[in-house]
Symmetry: D2
Subunit: 181 residues, 4 copies
């Protein structure tokens, strides 16, 4: 049995995001993902500023992205993020953008432990490498960041079922998805 706590970041497509065809310009999805990772880091009790002041940065190393359906002006989107692996110097994240909040029974785990969600319009697997700001070389992920992610991903106990309904958008700051498998 695995408990997965998913971080959910809601956003509204702005005029600045769309291209000449009226759909979100493809590089902007990467911005959405980054916003969601920054938000998720905060939810773990860590922050971008703390990371930078520790002399580290999580640099993008690899991206595999699938664009499934275009996103439109003023559409409300949800970036759902899941840390899938934490190594010595690198972190793997799966990030999915959906058109609505999924219900618990709509979330499926693939064999590779990646989530499958309804009304997905975009999905990506990202590999980040911890890099030393001075030397620009790979370094170990700070221990407290590792711990923060671990705590966030950890099974929360028998009361998890209380979270199985999708949170209201206004409630996102308080509650996240928790999936029992």
């Amino acid at each position: 049995m695995i408990f997965l706590q998913l971080s959910i970041f809601p956003l509204t497509v702005q005029f600045e995001d769309v291209d000449a065809h009226g759909v979100v310009h493809h590089p902007n999805y990467l911005k959405y993902l980054e916003r969601a990772r920054s938000y998720g880091m905060k939810k773990c009790g860590y922050s971008l500023e703390k990371l930078i002041s520790s002399g580290s940065v999580l640099a993008i190393s690899e991206i595999q992205a699938h664009y499934l359906r275009p996103a439109l002006l003023e559409e409300e989107l949800f970036v759902i993020s899941q840390v899938t692996d934490v190594g010595k110097t690198s972190i793997k994240v799966q990030q999915v953008i959906t058109l609505r909040l999924p219900k618990t029974d709509e979330i499926h785990l693939a064999e590779d432990q990646n989530v499958s969600l309804p009304e997905t319009i975009f999905s990506a697997k990202i590999r980040l490498v911890c890099v030393d700001l001075k030397s620009a070389k790979a370094k170990s992920i700070p221990q407290d960041l590792k711990q923060a992610i671990k705590s966030f991903n950890q099974p929360l106990g028998a009361n998890c079922s209380q979270n199985i309904d999708p949170p209201l958008v206004g409630e996102l700051q308080k509650c996240e998805y928790l999936i029992t498998t």
Copy 2:
């Protein structure tokens, strides 16, 4: 024997492109690639405007990107693009960003026909799908675009060797790489 004509698009990293760490912000690489594809389309005798006025758009479907080394402010970069496959409704492109123009003998073809170039800082494989602007559904690539790409990729004959030296930056508009394999 295969002749590959590579399209080369030079650019200078602008202040607007770099992030808080003084390196190019990762979504901006996708913008660089798109500029190079637009430029390459023009080199083929086609253009973005022609495509749009035909009621079509080449939408991004998949991106596999590897970030190998950060690019710095005011660095001069070269986006080297190669169409690797033209299907009924989709096109595959390999795009590489290097720090300098490669010499002909530095260009190697991997088994999958993708080029390997020295001082590569970023590489990506992109899949584009031709989409009908009205129905938003996949459609056949316009025949004249297909022909334009084919002509560009076609063997140019025995005189190819005249192009084997790297072009000067100022000469890029006149000449592109041509590789004999």
Copy 3:
């Protein structure tokens, strides 16, 4: 006595927004203002989509901007917008970015009816012109948009005083500033 209903749009500075000096890159303030205007239009019961589907667009004609203090990564900002004039074909908006929500007694009206707010880091006066999407020529502002803005700016009666305290950030969707002069 004038009642001014100010629209307030909160945002968090994202990593994508800051430049090599760690402060918000100056063109991004214009994006913040535009997001706030879109939001304000919705608060009036109108929307960007409705405007576009009426064949019109509010195009920027003039901007006078003052950058007073840089905004930093992950700072929470408030874009406070005020329609100052609605003409036949053009609208004038004053927009101010502050570091915190002002209290009612901190809001001052200058002689030109523009508001002055504490901890302002940026202020701008924007002139927008209504343009016909087909002819690209100036046209009259749609009557229903004009009415929507008017209603929003209208005195709300004797109960205004109930709104004089700054709204909590979470409450912004429900309540806006209302200033009696």
Copy 4:
């Protein structure tokens, strides 16, 4: 008699620059201006990197911008820049975007010494303040930057007339406008 050496920066409107209406999104003009200022600084024998490594930055303090006509996808634009004032801690620049290179007799100087150019689609007056990177306070402009700007703006002598024809786009790196008044 005043000689004005104008810096000219050519660019092509990219797909990434246009908005849902197919015209350049208004904040992007500020990016174009910044690229042109960086380019102009290099033409003076100075550079952004040199400025930063001297612990200084030229921060935007004021912008007055007029949007006169939209710019379209793949249009070729020219950003024409003129330093109008160099003070102790601040620099004023006038920047104009045109659709073609003006001929010398088409350039007019207004009473305030600002140039007026044909087929202008955008014009702006920018005030930049030299800021110390550590203290974030205004500081004197580095003496060598001041000198570099002065040399660039200086009368070049009797041979100026050789430059009075508009340069070819490909020749822009070698020659700039020089106007005798």
